[in-house]
Structure formats: C-alpha cells, structure tokens
Symmetry: C2
Subunit: 417 residues, 2 copies
C-alpha cells in the first residue's frame, strides 16, 4: 500500500517485522500475555522479545502489569497490554449516500463517529470538502492531539488506482473521473493517508478484530448501492493486480432473476444491490410507498427508501415480502457457492447497508443454499457477522491505516534481513 505523508514522521517507525508481530500478539492477547507467552506465540527468542518490548514500553504503546498466577500455576508473571489511547487512526467511508468518519484507538475501539450526507451534486470537490470537514470535526470533538494520529484510511467505491491514490470512475458517482482523493485529503489534513476499496476495507475490519474468529478463507459481501465480494484467502485480503479485486456484479446467481445492466439475466448486481431490490420488488407488485418511486429523488435515495420500505413491510408480516427476500437471499447463496467452490472458502460474511436492514429476512434463503451445497473438501460453509463496533467500512478503513503502520507483513522482509 502506498501511503502518502505530507509531514515529517511524528512517530518512530515501528521497528520492523519483529516489533510489529509482538504488538499484534499483545493486542490479540488482550492483557493476558507474558513475555514468555509472546516468545512462544511468535517464535521469537526471549532476548528479542525483551528488547522489542522495552522499545514498545518506551514508546508508550504498551503497558505492563504484575499479576499473580493461580495457586500452583508457577511463579507470578508480568502481563502486557496495548495502551489504547497511545495512538489513533481515522477511517472514512465515502459512498454515494453518505460520508462516515470514525476515530479508532490502538485497541480498535471506536472513539468517535460522524456521518454526513454525500452532497447531492456528486461533485468530487464538494464531497472532498465534507470529508475534510468531518475528519477535523471528529479529531476536534475527541480532543485527540494530531501527533497521536497514525493517519487516515479512505474507503471508496471502486474502481480505484491504488498506487496513485485515484478514484477512477465509480458507476454510482457518475461525475467522478480520476479524482486524486488520497493526496488531496493528505494535503488538507496534514495526515498520512491511504485509499482502498470499500469492500476491502470491510475485509480488513474482519481480519483486525479477533471477535470475528479471523477467518482465513472467506467471502466478504458488501451490499449497498452496488454489490461487491471481497476475498480473504490464506489469511490475506486478495487485492488483485491493480487493487480492484472485489467486483462481483456479474457473478451469476445461476438462474434468471432480474435484468442486469449488462443485458444478462441472473447477475448478482441485478439481485442484491439496493437499486436491483427496488426494481425487482416493483416487478413483483410489492408496494414500497411513494418515497421509493418519487421521480424527484435521486436513484440512490429512492433505492435507500425502498430498502427501508421493504424492512417495514417485512416487520409488518407482508405475505409477499418474506418469499421475495428469501428468494433474494437464496440467489446470493447460489452466487457464493460458485465463489466458495472456486477458491475453497469456508466462510461467508455478509455486510453493508442492504444487509444491515434486510439481513434477518435474507439470511434464511442464503443459509438454505449454503447448507445444501456439497463443497469439494467436504467442509461446511458458515455465515459470520461482521465484528467490531460501528459502521464497518469506515472502521475497516481505519483498520487499514493501523494495519499499514503496525501489522507484520512478510512482504519486503528480505529487504530488512
């Protein structure tokens, strides 16, 4: 990941692979790890652990506590834990409907959240203003000194040019073309900034939080204005050759189900995006109210209202809505079995504003297909919820920034040997 910084380093660099590996082990140990535990977990020597922990203590990133062990469990030890407010990261999720900004501390807790509507004009300049204003407001509101902020993670719809930090031409942000969002945010906030795709930010959140069970091979679905599937394979996020992995609009659901813009029937994008749900519900004669078909509102707003309308009808027990959403969930399941089979995944993590509101009615159909599918490796396909607090794409964007600064990655290791 290319991170752009516009200032001198306000932090000592984290000291390479060993130190980052230790910091991650301390975080995941959640206050229970002794130095001996860390040596065992990381495979580092006792001396290396002692030296690296000393540097982490000096930098104020970790703290230690003397604890008595259970009677008979040996001599007392000193456990280590993260100092949550020693460092922070900002996460921004920009989508056609809203700008969401979160502040995460070093332990991954959401310290502050702000949401603002994305300007109706869709002009990149107007959206950029909102992003920068909301970042400032979050930092000012939380009274966090900027020199404790590792940086800003930006999550946007794709496609992007990850190396150059550009948002290229997202289908639902029609006036955006090659927008240098990363560098503009870095310049205006003075903070190191990185840019990634929204669905990959969600995947980063899932890998960051131990509560997710940290699946190694998973399909992370993001259903919102569009539909994306981010892949986690062998514990890593699949990014692809240009950072644009995750485009799943044309994965087939295996049967006719709503017409896609590409002209084919049965594309996932014609089934699970908010716009597709609106169109398919209308076709089935489901009455979503005037708001969803109001010609004065934008397509994004109408689709969003349609999702709210469907949820209200489902809660009220409308007899047409439950079968429609069951069928929609089953279609998602069909698309996912193809993906899980191709990549031998065992976990599915649905997320996004459509899933957040309609999940209880989509999930039975999804599970019915996944449970019945004979995977080649004879393992089941499980459905996990997203973990962690708050809006998952924005949280994930902040996780990407924490990750960039802190997490061990073997890539490039040779250069440091």
């Amino acid at each position: 990941m290319t991170t752009v910084s516009t200032r001198g380093t306000n932090l000592p660099r984290m000291g390479g692979f060993n130190q980052a590996a230790l910091l991650e082990a301390i975080r995941l140990g959640a206050g229970t790890c002794t130095r001996a535990d860390l040596a065992r977990k990381t495979g580092l020597s006792a001396q290396t652990v002692t030296n690296a922990v000393r540097r982490l203590l000096e930098a104020g990133l970790v703290t230690e506590e003397d604890v008595k062990r259970q009677p008979g469990a040996g001599r007392p030890g000193t456990t280590l834990d993260i100092v949550p407010d020693s460092r922070f990261a900002v996460g921004v999720h920009l989508d056609p409907a809203a700008v969401v900004v979160v502040l995460l501390d070093l332990a991954g807790q959401v310290v502050a959240t702000r949401t603002a509507p994305t300007p109706e004009s869709e002009e990149p300049g107007a959206a950029l203003e909102v992003v920068v204003r909301e970042i400032d407001a979050v930092l000012d509101g939380a009274a966090v000194e900027r020199d404790r902020v590792l940086g800003v993670g930006l999550a946007t719809p794709g496609p992007i040019d990850r190396a150059r930090g550009l948002v290229l031409d997202p289908p639902h942000l029609t006036t955006w073309h090659d927008v240098p969002l990363r560098d503009e945010v870095a310049r205006r906030t003075g903070l190191p900034t990185l840019l990634d795709k929204d669905v990959l930010a969600v995947a980063a959140a899932i890998l960051w939080f131990p509560a997710s069970g940290r699946p190694t091979d998973a399909a992370v679905v993001y259903a919102g204005t569009g539909v994306a599937i981010g892949i986690v394979s062998g514990g890593d996020i699949v990014r692809g050759v240009s950072g644009n992995a995750g485009e799943a609009g044309h994965v087939s659901v295996g049967r006719a189900f709503g017409r896609c813009a590409c002209g084919r029937e049965g594309c996932l994008g014609g089934v699970l995006s908010a716009n597709a749900i609106l169109a398919n519900a209308v076709e089935r004669g489901i009455d979503l109210g005037a708001g969803a078909t109001d010609a004065g509102a934008s397509e994004t707003v109408r689709a969003d209202r349609a999702v709210d309308g469907l949820r209200a009808l489902a809660e009220a027990g409308d007899p047409a809505v439950a079968p429609f959403l069951h069928e929609t969930g089953a279609a998602l399941g069909s698309a996912l079995t193809t993906v899980c089979e191709l990549l031998d995944l065992d976990t599915v993590v649905p997320s996004g504003p459509v899933w957040d509101r309609l999940g209880p009615w989509l999930e039975p159909g999804l599970r019915s297909v996944l449970d019945a599918y004979p995977m080649p490796g004879h393992h089941p396909l499980r459905v996990l919820g997203t973990a962690g607090d708050g809006p998952v794409a924005a949280v994930g964007a902040a996780c990407l920034m924490l990750d960039d600064a802190l997490t061990p990655r073997p890539t490039g290791l040779l250069l440091r040997v």
Copy 2:
C-alpha cells in the same frame, strides 16, 4: 504442504529462508549473477550471501565461473549457476485417461518422461501399481541415484484431503474414495512424496519457469476430462482452506450453452470439458465418427476421441466446426471475465489436453471476449501459453516438489527468526 518421507533425510535441509532465496535468485539469474548481484536482488548482506553461497557450493547445488566483464564495466566477477544434475524431482500426473511421469532436474529441465494408460478398471490399486512402476522405470532409465531425488510430486483430480494425502472422490474416478495415494507412493518408492490437485500443479509450473513471465495474478485453466481454474493471486497459488481451490465447473458462461449435470444451462463444466464438447458437438450435428460414439468404449475414451475428431475436422476446414469452437472459446472467455473481475487478474493461461489439441480454434473466441471486456482497473487481459517442456501437470507436480524443498516461503518464518 505436508510431505511424507519414509527414510532418513538424504539431503542436508536447505538451510532456511535466506539460502532458499539465494538458490532461487541464482536459478532465475541463469548463470549471470555475481555475489554482489545476489545481495542486491535479495536484500541480504554481503556477508550472508558469501556464507550461504559457500554452503550451496559445498553441497554441490551451485557452481561458480570467473568471467571477464565488458571493457570499462569494472573488475571481473565470478558468476554463479545451478548444477542441474545435482538434484532431481519426480512429477506424476494421474488422470482418468493416463499416468504421466517426468523427471525434472534442479534447473527445471525434463530429463525423462513416461506415459501409460490409466487401467480401465479405474481401481485405485491398479492405478497405484502403474504409478509406482512408471516412477521406477523413469529413475532406472535415467540412471539417477535415488539419493539425488528430492521426492515425488503427485498431481491428481480433486477433491483431495491435502493434509492427509488422500484422493477423496473425483467425479471421473468413480471407484475412488479416500485413497491414501501419497502415503502409499511414499512407502513403495521410499521417496518423500506430496499430493496436490492437478490444476494447482499446472499453476506451480507457470510460477516456476521464468519463461512464463511469472504472472502475479492469473487464472490457469485446465481443460481435460473436467474443467478447473487455478488462481494465482499476488504471486501465490490460491489453495483454499482444504487445498481444493480450482473447482470451476459451475462458473457461469453467462448464457445457455449445454446442460450441466447440476441441471443448469451455462455452467463452464457443460462447455469446455471433453465430455461436454462431445455432447455439444453431437447436438449441433457435427459427425465425429464412430469412435466418439462407440458404446463399447468408456466415456473418457469416447470424449478423448471426440477431441481428436474435432481437431481433424477443424484442420480439414469443416464449416460447422470452426464456429462451434469459436463459440466454445467465447464461452470460456465469458466465464473468465467474471473470475478476472472478481479477483482483479490480468492474465489467463489455458492448458490441458483439450486446449492442447483445440487451442488454435478456441483462442480467437476467447480473445474476442477478453479483449472487449472493460476491466475495472483499466488494464488488458492477456493470454499466455504454459512454459517449460513436456506435459505441464506432471512437470508442475515435480515443480511442487522442488518448490517444497527449495523455494523461499515467508510462511513459518517467525518460527526461524
């Protein structure tokens, strides 16, 4: 990869990450690298390079040569190269039609090849006999001492249980259930043995040979008795949670095109496998001759004859065959665009016995779809051939064995720090 060895180590272990990284750099340098070049390429210190190269020279794996540089290009240097016949690996490709065994030297050259028909009975015991007999014959014929053989790589159709070395229940080997092929071959040959899926062996071959251009993000198609797509992502083979990644039979080609056993139209398995090509050609009224429809022959044999028949008709300029194969290639292209988009791949590598014979007539249709597809990252989709000599799945199986013994992998690095 779990490798089973039935004997004491006949080789010093390769000395970990640094030494393996150097060996790979020397191999890829093909006799042009000096110690200084190696230090620069690997990021290792000059002292580390000197020490590791000394161990490689002592083990007889590399050799050095004094060379004069071009006038004015500085002082003369000593270049290093692999000693090809210092070590070997056996690769076996077992499929429903044939058992192919190759012997590869340390430079990746095919030293010997043998092919035998897979016994008609399909009994695992009979096939195992053939595998062991052919391995012995290859080693005896090449007069290679067994203590120079790193081991045997086995490539079979999936699904497999990679950790336990079992072939589970391949759809085209109907009498096979949980066959302990890896351990049986290890026991009978006395050689370390590993088991992997055929399409992943092909992917390994593509990553091993520099002539392939070593794509980092690629879809490797294997079209034979079935159809598989192995994924290379970020330079690594995607294996999945149980080692069964690559099952692509139900990836959609986006339109009705031959019925799949799953009941749907438009599955890739209903388009590109040898059986599917036979069925679809017959449906279009193409006359493949009596051999392809001979009820006395097995399905595998008939399908194989059908591919030969189509090739003969295509070469003779049959007016129905060229459009049929163009359409089949285009359907493969459609399936691949979905996969390439989801994983942001930029390279497609078709292979396998169907492609080897029909590729010249399938490729125009394939390319027409790939060339027209707007990838999100705005990069083209290129079509590569497989590199290296000989039968690619068997060669790839040998590469997996070489890889297991020699190639640097950061996984597990922490345990060695």
